[in-house]
């Protein structure tokens, strides 16, 4: 008698768990299944309140504080620290109306939780503007925080499409947000073109980091690739950061036999993925195209031979100020000038800081050594930026996105990143 009750209870529980799981799985999968098609990619301004601008006062002989929100620890710090350093060197030898510049760094962990937390700390530190956050997820979470505090921030590397209002800023949302990098949509489109036209790949297998950046970039790539006439084979497979075992994904790849593997994610997971991929005879030689998050010197030191021959895209180009940036960067990091090439989004970060500095020069009002800076005026001055920077001409569109998009391609040869010319394989 007791055993039977036990079993039927067990069966009932099992049925419940199964039903629940199926429901979760069925409902939770919508955003993995490809395009919404249209121009607006889910940008939402629900509940928007006008930016809470304020005026900043810098006492005589006090430095002007500028914030940096970047990943200073953990797996993404290979990207985050060079970005923070790049912004810092933009102020080398510069004073605004006699006041020095001081950078306040906060760790946003490249995570959605980290963005608002870093923003809060920077607001408390009374900075006048911020370079950051570094990642799309953290930026999305922090947009409201910065805007309510009226603190203008320029991200050097947040590339997800729906962070800015495609309609422009007339309707308002997040006027405090600017960004310098080329967007996922542009990068993905160029990658799809390259992979289809130059590498002549007709089928692709996609793996992506399930964070905001990876999901967005992979969806953009799938759309662009399909538009070109390519086919996505197998199921695009998501993974979380710190993932260590890709073997079941690789078995899927072996079955799908793609012409190229596309990875939208970061270098830590890419390193592991490539190593496991190259261990198998069948997948050893499949071509690989990675997004900007993959390009990092850590990938080369970690994956070594496994990274040989892979293709990578980097959004953005090198501008006329790049040389000056490289010199200052080498001086700060006590390295070589060529190190600046390895700082993904370093030039963008440098330009973001430069945009802030140039705008400060214009709007800071001096009265007997004391400076007043109006937050709104600063924001508008940044919007009007138009100068030659380390990542090309720096201009912003009305909605905060950068104007003008260029994507460069690299290949790993002999353990180094080699930039490819157009149509070169």
């Amino acid at each position: 008698m007791r055993i039977r009750d036990h079993r039927s209870l067990g069966l009932a529980l099992l049925a419940l768990v199964a039903l629940f799981s199926l429901a979760v799985v069925a409902c939770g999968d919508d955003d993995d299944k490809g395009s919404n098609g249209g121009a607006t990619r889910g940008f939402s301004a629900a509940g928007y309140k006008a930016a809470g601008y304020k005026a900043y006062t810098i006492e005589k002989d006090q430095p002007i504080k500028i914030g940096i929100s970047s990943a200073l620890s953990g797996d993404v710090k290979g990207l985050g620290l060079p970005i923070a350093d790049s912004a810092t060197v933009a102020a080398d030898g510069i004073t605004i109306k006699g006041h020095k510049i001081e950078f306040v760094r906060e760790d946003d962990l490249c995570k959605p939780e980290g963005g608002p937390a870093a923003a809060d700390r920077l607001i408390k530190a009374n900075v006048v503007a911020v370079v950051g956050p570094i990642c799309s997820g953290g930026t999305r979470a922090a947009l409201k925080v910065y805007d309510e505090a009226g603190l203008t921030h320029i991200s050097p590397s947040a590339t997800a499409g729906d962070l800015s209002n495609p309609q422009g800023r007339a309707e308002g949302p997040y006027v405090t947000f600017f960004r310098v990098p080329v967007l996922n949509a542009d990068e993905a489109r160029e990658q799809a073109n390259y992979v289809y036209d130059v590498l002549k790949a007709k089928t692709a297998f996609v793996v992506f980091d399930t964070d905001d950046y990876g999901k967005d970039l992979s969806q953009q790539f799938q759309e662009s690739f399909k538009k070109k006439g390519g086919k996505i084979v197998g199921q695009p497979t998501g993974y979380e950061k710190k993932q260590s075992d890709f073997n079941s994904v690789i078995a899927n790849i072996k079955q799908a036999k793609p012409d190229v593997i596309y990875q939208a994610g970061f270098y830590a997971e890419a390193t592991v993925f490539l190593q496991q991929l190259r261990k198998d005879n069948d997948t050893k030689n499949i071509r690989y195209m990675g997004g900007d998050g993959v390009k990092n010197d850590e990938l080369l030191t970690g994956a070594k031979d496994a990274a040989e021959g892979i293709y990578l895209a980097l959004p953005g180009t090198l501008g006329s100020e790049f040389g000056a940036f490289a010199k200052k960067y080498a001086a700060l990091t006590k390295g070589k000038e060529s190190d600046a090439e390895g700082a993904t989004f370093g030039p963008e970060s440098y330009d973001a800081a430069a945009a802030i500095l140039k705008a400060l020069e214009k709007v800071a009002k001096d009265s007997g050594g004391k400076l007043t800076i109006d937050g709104k005026a600063l924001n508008e001055a940044i919007l009007k930026s138009d100068f030659a920077g380390a990542s090309g001409q720096v201009k912003f569109q009305n909605n905060g996105d950068r104007a003008g998009a260029v994507v460069r391609f690299f290949k790993v040869q002999g353990g180094k990143y080699v930039q490819l010319k157009a149509n070169e394989k």
Binding site: R7, G10, L13, L14, V17, S21, V25, A26, D29, D32, K33, S73, G74, D75, K77, T210, G234, Q235, P236, T237, G238, Y239, E240, K242, Q243, S244, D245, F246, N247, S248, V249, A251, N252, K254, Q255, A256, A268, T271, V272, Q275, Q276, R278, K279, D280, N281, D282, K284, E298, G302, A303, K304, D305, A306
Partner: protein, 319 residues
């Protein structure tokens, strides 16, 4: 999109082999959990970190002997030395932990050594992760020769073959020690009834120490195999395999040595093949991590129907 259930036989064979390979690693770690539980009724939460230490010890040896430059017979030498170093390092770690964190609490209420174990686990993983490595990973070099053996639709790489073979060898050795030696008999006696065994003249402390040692050596070996198979090792790598291996031990019947082995393989197979099976359902595309969901769901189901695990252990009589 792969059509419903039309994945090839090769594909399923591949996934099954993957599952068995990871299963071997779980089994090796699970042995440590099950043996320590059998003898002390303690869930050694720090066992995952013992595994992690072994992985790093092996890494140190391999890199010290040349890393990427290794080739030919030197690869075999390096791996062998790595395994020995890992066994030694893991063993030393486990013995230290036993001495410092568990032995003083031998007569304390059951919860105390449990919390102590968790504390040691957190301490060790963060020490390596934040203290030494600053969150970064280290990578085993790709020195193992690539190549497959095929038997019909089943294709096994040399590496997978080595992993499974080496694991079986080690498990066999452990079985021999536990079943055929005096030391093993002592361990089994203390597991059955500590006080009686002590009355029969068995050095209980020594038996306990050897149990920890044996389990740790298995875990250390597993660490090196893990590094060879999955490349990346990090301070926090012990957590998930540790929890899964513990799950495997419970699945097989905590306290049972063959149970740990069966549980390990079963868990490895289920999580790999299970996720793929679910992905066959049209419209379903589960990310990689759902392997873990499947694994734990299986645990829940098995425990509902068979709470003592597959090979249930006789409850020891307490006086």
């Amino acid at each position: 999109m792969t059509p419903l259930f039309l994945s090839t036989a090769e594909f399923w064979a591949d996934q099954a082999v993957n599952g068995l390979t990871t299963g071997s690693i779980y089994a090796l770690i699970a042995l440590g959990y099950t043996m320590v539980y059998g003898i002390l009724q303690l869930i050694n939460f720090a066992h995952g970190e013992v595994f992690m230490v072994g992985a790093f010890a092996g890494y140190g040896v391999v890199m010290g002997l040349g890393g990427d430059e290794l080739s030919g017979a030197m690869v075999a030498v390096a791996i062998l030395l790595a395994l020995l170093a890992a066994g030694a390092a893991s063993g030393a770690t486990a013995l230290t932990i036993e001495r410092i964190a568990y032995r003083p609490l031998r007569r304390a209420p059951r919860l105390a050594p449990l919390i102590s174990a968790i504390g040691v686990s957190v301490f060790l993983s963060h020490l390596v992760d934040d203290g030494f490595l600053d969150g970064q990973s280290k990578y085993y070099p790709l020195i193992f020769p690539t190549g497959d053996i095929s038997l019909g639709p089943v294709s096994v790489s040399y590496l997978q073959l080595f992993l499974m073979g080496a694991s079986l060898l080690m498990m066999g050795a452990l079985y021999w020690v536990v079943q055929r030696t005096r030391v093993g008999r002592a361990i089994r006696a203390v597991s059955e009834n500590k006080d009686n065994a002590s009355l029969m003249g068995i050095d209980v402390d020594r038996a306990i120490v050897i149990t920890f040692l044996l389990g740790a050596i298995m875990a250390g070996f597993a660490g090196v195999l893990y590094g060879l198979f999955l490349s990346a090792i990090r301070g926090s790598m012990g957590f998930l395999p540790g929890v899964k291996a513990f799950t495997a031990a419970v699945l097989g019947g905590i306290g049972s040595v063959p149970g740990a082995v069966v549980g390990g393989y079963l868990l490895g197979l289920t999580e790999t093949v299970g996720r793929e099976l679910l992905n066959e359902i049209p419209g379903v595309n589960l990310p990689n991590e759902w392997k873990d969901v499947v694994a734990f769901a299986v645990l829940v189901v098995v425990l509902i129907f068979r709470p003592t695990g597959i090979f249930r252990q006789k409850e020891t009589k307490r006086a």
